[in-house]
């Protein structure tokens, strides 16, 4: 498959002579084959960085994202901030030591990373934060409320963005947790909306990287919305509701299906509901699995719940190398909650086997 992706990569079209800067990337391919995109213009600092402050912590693992950020920074007329690219895989003690020395004013990172990182900060340290740019995952209602309370002096910039298009939308204080205003120059359309107005999101944006996106099917499902006379969109998840990305894990519907098939002697049908909450100052994901038992089942309802509470997490991978059990042990997830039902009901016309609630 990778060879096929590379065949589609227009390397010969890269204007090597003209462009001092270009970037070639593939999208993740969650809605099909990864899509190669060639950027012929340098990233613009003002497009990439929407915050303010003198000491910026950027906590994203992607090297291309880091390099883009650093390149845009190096090209800006007057670099007036220090940037620290934080490796969140470092031990907690080291991360605290780094932040204590660097004394950040600004964070650019997924919300759950920020909340975990600053969980034990003192009031004074929290007050020094003047700007938070949230990206990389949807910030749930609880996370936004916690950030507002924890960082009283910070301007919280909640963005809707993707690796390939950059920033597309911004939340205002009146927006719901999943609601965004289009940024200037961005047009959102909904393709084939269902009776709830929910459909595939199409994005039109002239990208500063030199790529024009025209009615680009980005892979998210959304509906039009508005408040105070201004148009917004509300996001509901990935196309087909096939995965949910959280900061440290990726929940993939196919993986849930695989485990359900492995446990087919006990599970006839299921749906999984994910909720992100804040507990004791740290983000915590809660996964609830609604299960219709296979009949006849060797286990009664209570025994089945107990069995699945341990067996399902042991088998379900949430990263390429770790299971839900590992994530529960690390405190990223609460213990799996099982609800045995007679029938699975869905909130929308289209069945959603895996969905995020808030």
């Amino acid at each position: 498959m990778f060879a096929e992706i590379l065949r589609n990569t227009p390397l010969d079209k890269i204007p090597k002579e003209e462009a001092k800067y270009y970037r070639l990337m593939h999208t993740s391919g969650t809605t099909g084959l990864p899509l190669p995109i060639v950027y012929t213009k340098r990233p613009d600092w003002n497009d990439i960085f929407l915050g303010e402050g003198e000491r910026i912590v950027m906590a994203f693992g992607s090297k291309t994202l880091r390099l883009d950020f650093a390149r845009a920074y190096a090209d800006s007329d007057t670099p007036n901030a220090d940037i620290l690219f934080l490796n969140i895989g470092l031990p907690e003690k080291t991360l605290s030591q780094i932040c204590e020395q660097f004394r950040p004013t600004t964070f650019v990172c997924p919300p759950s990373i920020l909340l975990r990182l600053t969980q034990k900060w003192t009031g004074m340290e929290r007050q020094e934060i003047t700007s938070i740019s949230v990206a990389g995952e949807l910030a749930g209602k609880a996370a936004i409320e916690e950030m507002r309370a924890r960082f009283p002096n910070a301007k919280i910039i909640n963005t809707y963005s993707s690796m390939e298009t950059g920033n597309m939308g911004l939340s205002c204080p009146k927006c719901a947790w999943n609601e965004f205003h289009p940024r200037a120059g961005v047009i959102f359309d909904i393709d084939e909306p269902d009776e709830d107005g929910v459909g595939d999101l199409l994005v039109t944006k002239d990208n500063p990287g030199g790529v024009a996106f025209r009615s680009y099917r980005i892979g998210d499902v959304a509906s039009h919305s508005s408040h105070d006379g201004e148009k917004t969109i509300r996001l509901y998840g990935r196309r087909g509701f096939d995965y949910i990305k959280l900061a440290e894990v990726l929940l993939i519907r196919e993986e849930f299906d695989r485990v359900a098939r492995e446990l087919k002697d006990h599970i006839r049908d299921y749906k999984a509901e994910v909720q992100s909450v804040v507990k004791d100052g740290a983000p915590l994901h809660k996964l609830r699995l609604y299960v219709v038992p296979e009949t006849p089942s060797a286990l009664n309802e209570a025994a089945l719940e107990k069995f699945l509470e341990t067996e399902f997490p042991k088998r379900l991978f949430v990263t390429p190398k770790s299971t839900l059990s590992d994530a529960i042990a690390k405190g990223i997830f609460a213990p799996l909650e099982i609800k045995v039902e007679e029938k699975i009901t869905h909130a929308t016309a289209k069945p959603q086997r895996l969905y995020l609630v808030n």
């Binding site: 090297k63 620290l84 690219f85």
Partner: protein, 251 residues
């Protein structure tokens, strides 16, 4: 380094770091007290900066003690990788911050790098081949992983290794059979400090970079590189060396 303006550093208005460390103004360079990593660990970053220029801040550690280092854009630019104009580099280092710095260096010199990821090495190497990279910029740990995988892109002709020890001499000898090899001695807190050339009897000879002085103090390299955000003046390293007359060798 006798020409180094010690008074200017001592009386700097931007930082009193060396003034405190030295106590009194040294009369000559050889009287300058040695600087240890522990001195950097003890002193917060913003109390040992001698340049207004902002930049990338990274975490370095020595003997399990961590400290922050600012690498301004001019600090990064002043590294000299001696990369030819036709180089299409694959930057693949085990430390992501080092990878970022060397990629930025490539851009500064009009060369577009392909920045790779060790955690996804087979895919990285396939893409590097497709991208027609001809020069691998790596470190010893990353190089060992790449060589062990036995999937080096055929397009790669040159290998530049940036490292602080070059401990695995057997690996270097192996790689040297098939590739044009260039070696650079580097410390995270200093950047590149010397070119390293294979010499007689499998020894590695050190050629300090412009603006860098290396001394042999009790068999360890002591570095002076003043043009940094935190100037390093007689900074002790853990790197073993030997001086034979006027020639420096890595041990």
């Amino acid at each position: 380094m006798e020409a180094l303006d010690l008074k200017k550093i001592y009386e700097s208005r931007q930082s009193a770091f060396y003034k405190k460390h030295w106590g009194k103004l040294p009369a000559t360079f050889s009287e300058v007290p040695l600087l240890h990593a522990a001195d950097l660990v003890r002193t917060p970053l913003y109390e040992r900066l001698y340049k207004d220029e902002r930049g990338l801040v990274k975490f370095a550690s020595r003997n399990n003690n961590g400290f922050l280092i600012r690498r301004s854009l001019s600090d990064i630019k002043n590294n000299n990788l001696e990369l030819p104009q036709d180089a299409v580099p694959l930057v693949l280092l085990s430390d992501p911050n080092e990878g970022l710095e060397h990629s930025l260096w490539c851009y500064e010199y009009g060369t577009v790098p392909y920045i790779g990821d060790l955690s996804n090495l087979p895919v990285t190497l396939i893409c590097a081949s497709q991208f027609k990279t001809n020069t691998l910029i790596s470190d010893m740990a990353a190089l060992l992983e790449i060589v062990s995988l036995n999937e080096m892109p055929e397009t790669i002709k040159n290998i530049y290794v940036i490292d602080s020890s070059f401990a695995d001499r057997a690996l270097l000898k192996e790689v040297q059979k098939d590739y044009h090899l260039k070696l650079f001695l580097s410390l995270p807190e200093a950047g590149i400090i010397a070119s390293v050339k294979p010499a007689e009897a499998d020894r590695l000879r050190l050629m300090p970079q412009m603006g860098v002085s290396l001394e042999d103090v009790d068999g360890k390299i002591v570095v002076t590189k003043p043009e940094l955000s935190t100037p390093l003046i007689r900074y002790t390293s853990d790197i073993n060396m030997e001086r034979v007359e006027d020639t420096l060798y890595l041990n």
